[in-house]
Subunit: 236 residues, 6 copies
């Protein structure tokens, strides 16, 4: 007999690699648990973000833990609110470590790379930063070497500096938002961590038992964001 | 028997790919409908622009919707007025979303890329910006790797900054113009959207029924544009 | 029997491609006629420039019209006066459109590219700009990839900015000169256009009938040009 | 019979190359002894650092001496404290030479390269510097030539300057910390050097005899570090 | 019978290409004659320069005229005085055109390229400019592509600007010196030109008849040169 | 019978190429003699430098003369004092020409290139300049094209400017030191030159007869050097 759980396991094995047995000390397990719980809690509390499907601290492939989000339905246009929520969730892992353990580690490297890349696209391709509607040539979609070279960087140093400032400001605002969100929900963060350390994997239903139903219409605590226009605050 | 409609369908299939069946929720359909109606309405109301042939929200190939414009006759020289009108039409999609739905999304990426590219050519190749008559080497037409490399960028950082400022200013002015145009024609925008959501495709005749005849000699509401010289206002 | 005209036609077919039949509306024909007449009239009125051999608005190859100049005899050294006159003639096409039709179009792209290239060489290779006698490595004559790469740009950003300023200033001065020249000869410009629209091709003799004999020793109206030294004024 | 020492020797031969016999004068031996003792003493006195396994001044492969550290258990996340401690240990070699022999030599080249690389990663990839959470594209993991080229440097000159300042400041703070640590433990440094010059190799047990037990919970003398946040001081 | 002249002709044919018959008008011949006489006269009057062997306005290969200098004996070290004299001779051609004909032409392009290249080497490789003794990596002697690329430009923008300023200043000083030299020897310049226009080729003996014996110990009129140190003045 | 001299000759032939017979005039011989004597005398008078083995003005391979230094024993760490002494010796050749003959020539090109390279490494790799302990990626040891390209220059323009300033300052200080050293030993310089012009080759013993025994513990006249720390003065 094949149960639902077998499908789940099969999908995980394909997507994330086989579960690895690695000897992690208690301190490292605690770091990973806070990191994943941070991702999950920010996603749970931010209405615009994709729903959380599963959280685990069983290492798979390169990852020491995973927070899986599954979009409710196919999406064709991503709104600014959705993109900011996505960055918030990415930063939730590191911020949880910082708040709960007063430590920052190298474990968030991939989150920071992804968040920076997304922020850069918002500013340079989707007209959501201080460049206004100017869209810079994308380096990612040009297949030929020669063409890429000349395309390389056809904007000015001043524009490059604006982009960097925008990215930094956007990430700083998101981090401040996430810090306040997690700090004011510290007890819930600890509860998720306790269950996760015991069970190693939590699915959406268990999360709902711990945290109560997700409020999709509620407002997240807004933060002023000078780079990004006022609409942001409403949806967070 | 082969009807005119069969030819239309055949042309669409070649140009835009086969019609795709994708499951889009009501919110996404609404976004696409406002986006395409924005393109169409700006084109309808701007005398210098090409006439609108068809608007559709049936997804084809990569596109979730299409606004087709067909030039009345072959054109050999493009005037500055025509080019500015073209940029206005490009920006109409995103601006309609913003005005009607108070949202900006990633869906306008391609419009922004095209509008930026056109603005850049106006400034760097056609003597229509603050570089005056200086025409910079085009990166796009040099076939050989070595040649492209040395051609790469033979202008100064100061000139690169001027180009970026010009592009930003030009797009900002166009956006402001489009925002005012769509805001003062908000009811007509909503009417087009309603019909489009129901019929999925509208051709020029239906558009004319909704919007009345296109006034090709009327003046569009002009905007001061410090970068570009005064002639612009007249034709918009 | 083979007439002189047959030779002319054969040469044109080789140099410019076969005459093309394209359907151009009256407005486009008018633009092309003013453009070519602008080139021709500036050449006629500028003593240092090569004599005009023929003007035509019959499209050939890529070109919608052509103004042919033929140097009186082989030239081995080009004087600064000759080079400035050549740039003036290049700018005559676009300036005529602007003055007569109050429009600027994309049709002058190639003229601007050539004028910019010539101005750049005057400044960077022939010691005729604010770099003084410093001659920068030419990108155009180095055959090997590796060599070109290292040669690429061995001058400073400050020098690159000086070059751009010089080019812009030189072209602006030439354009101002051409604007004054064409404005004070507006009736002659219109006369050439009228004949050209009717005959489609005018040769030197017809031009002389319309404009009177070319004064090779007369002075063209000089303009102060701070970048370029005082000798310029004398020859224009 | 195979003793533990045989395994040690075998591992050393694989990791470090065969022991080399080179004729070093007394002055050079003294430099190497202070260099390695500097590494070892800083590691011993810095709670966050990996424990010292062995110190030797027997040349092997390229190295004139080696200080081996072995992490107590597998580590999956590296904390900022650990990374700073690691840099401190790297700088201990050169600083010991400077303090004891009033000389700086080329022998620390590799230490400086490694310390700079680690500091750079802290700032540009792990969100531990004045760029905040912005993570720059890593040059090290992109396999394809074309891709690397366009990725090359997509940040501004201003950001490059910030990175350089951060690296310099971080290394300067670490050096000042190490200087104070070694100066206030000068007698212990000399003792390790004396034994090392006589024995040529010291293992952890001998080190403990000379220096007393390693205090893993004690505080190292903190230093203000404006670039890096206040948590640093606590752990050093 | 083979005369000395036959050897001369044979050498010329190998070095410079066969003599070309080109139809040059009187004005162009005059330009070439002043150009070559300028080179020759500056060389004659500058003690540090190589002696003049022959001057000709018979076109050969690419050249419209040639001034041949032959060093008296093999040289192994080039003094700063010699290098400056060489630049002076290079600039003599264009300056003679300017003084006598009040014209500057494209004919000096190669002279300017060579003079700039020599000035650059003095400043960047031979410690004779405001960079002091810092010698920058030479682009010219690295055979491998990869190596050249990384070597490309390892100095700062500030240094690049210094080099450009030095080159411009050095060339300007030399030009001013040459201008004064030729102006105060205007009659001798005209005499050489007259003979050259009649004879087409002049050798050293004829030059001596026109100009009198070359004074190798006399002083050339010195000019203050702030970039280059005071020794220069003595030798010129 | 094979004498010691035969070995010497054989080594020279391998290292430096066969002795060349070139016709050098007296002036050039004098330049070379002062150049080599300058190298030798600075080495003799600077305690930290390697001992002089031989000086010759017999041309070999590319070199017009050679000053051979042989380190007393294998060295594994190079101290800052040694490196500065080495640069001083390199600059001794050109400075001797300048002091004695009031001339600077192209003959020191290779010395300047080597001195600049060494100064650059001190500053960018060995922590001996105003970059502090920051060690920049070395261009010289990366074997693969792609890797080198991305590594190319990962530091800021501000850092590049600091490096250039440091190199210039370091070389200027060394030159000033060498100038004072040679000026106050002018008579000894002339004596070495006299013997060298007569004998063509001098070995260490002859040098000692001319100059007296080398004082290895004596102090060379120190110079303040703001870039490099105070220890320098002591050892020179």
């Amino acid at each position: 007999m094949v149960a639902m759980q077998d499908f789940e396991d099969a999908i995980d094995r394909v997507l994330l690699g086989a579960a690895r047995t690695i000897l992690m000390n208690d301190h490292d397990r605690q770091i990973v648990a806070y990191h994943e719980s941070g991702h999950a809690l920010v996603a749970w509390l931010t209405p615009a973000s994709d729903p959380v499907h599963k959280v685990t601290i069983i290492p798979r492939g390169q990852a020491l833990g995973v927070t899986e989000q599954v979009p409710g339905e196919d999406q064709y246009n991503y709104s600014r609110d959705y993109l900011l929520a996505r960055i918030s969730v990415m930063l939730g892992g590191r911020t949880a470590e910082e708040i709960a353990l007063n430590e920052i580690t190298t474990g968030a490297e991939n989150d920071l790379v992804q968040a920076t890349r997304l922020a850069r696209r918002m500013i340079t391709r989707w007209g959501m930063g201080s460049l206004g509607l100017m869209a810079l040539a994308s380096d990612e979609q040009q297949p030929f070497l020669g063409y890429e070279l000349t395309q390389g960087r056809d904007y000015s140093e001043a524009t490059a500096a604006k982009i960097d400032q925008d990215i930094q400001q956007l990430l700083e605002n998101r981090q401040e938002f996430v810090r306040q969100l997690l700090s004011s929900n510290r007890d819930r963060l600890d509860q998720v961590v306790q269950v996760l350390l015991k069970e190693e994997t939590i699915d959406e239903k268990v999360l709902e038992k711990i945290l109560g139903p997700r409020q999709l219409d509620g407002e997240s605590s807004p933060l002023t964001n000078e780079v990004i226009s006022p609409e942001i605050a409403a949806a967070d």
